[in-house]
Symmetry: C2
Amino acid sequence: MKFGIVIFPSKKMQDYANSFRKRYDAHYALIPPHVTLKAGFEATEEEIGPITKKISAIAGNLNPVQLKVTKFSSFSPVNNVIYLKVEPSQELENLHNKLNAAFDNIQEYKFVPHVTLGQDMSDAEHADVYGTMRMNNINFEETADRIHLLYQLENGSWTVYETFRLGKDA
Amino acid sequence: MKFGIVIFPSKKMQDYANSFRKRYDAHYALIPPHVTLKAGFEATEEEIGPITKKISAIAGNLNPVQLKVTKFSSFSPVNNVIYLKVEPSQELENLHNKLNAAFDNIQEYKFVPHVTLGQDMSDAEHADVYGTMRMNNINFEETADRIHLLYQLENGSWTVYETFRLGKDA
């Protein structure tokens, strides 16, 4: 089974992200808007018990993280992916690093916390859509006090396996 | 915000259910296959903290539940809804009753544990599809050791807020 670890931002930010994802993200129906902390990794149903314990220990020893979003950004020209840029912070970096270190520690990309709004666009569509999106003024600031471990179904959609509160008093 | 409480069955059962939902359930993309324990109820973000505590206490005091599915069924003629029938058990009934008692205790229908496969069908389509589905032999038997509290986004899709393990040693 394929698992992943994410933060779901507030309903407000998710609704905002979905207003764009609906048109520009083919994953719109597969998973709610999210910040990926650990991209898809394979594990068996037997392995997931110990993995759950590891994540629980990591989450319990960290504090809730701030999610501050003030602008749109893009991974172009590497990928025509437009996203809400979550301001990097030591807390987020730490959470990401600890989760990755607990597993394979394989990272294809540098960690850039973000909520994807659109992907799989042609260069022309990307330029057009990105140009329009960037004219919106946005300002989200919220605290994320939990992370979720998800697994992927055969149709590509994701189901939550477990929630972990960040913080010792969780 | 609108909240709900569900059990997600195993990936295997979810994949099986989705093979039908894809064609016959307009909610296919809004939520993974599930057994509803407490249908949508309204609560504010302030109220959800105490509600979470209540659910946590209830879940911690109950044992994991068995989900046994051996046949298809339908709510017709009341509703043209086809579903995987989860065999009623004292454990499931108890879980459902305790969760409902903790809230408004309003129940529109008698509790019939099920995983919806198809809905919003005409009488003719229902008869046709149900007739075909019933020819499948199915036999799922599994243990559900967790329940999930979800909230609904503006687009109708559901995001998990928190997971609760069933059982004292959770």
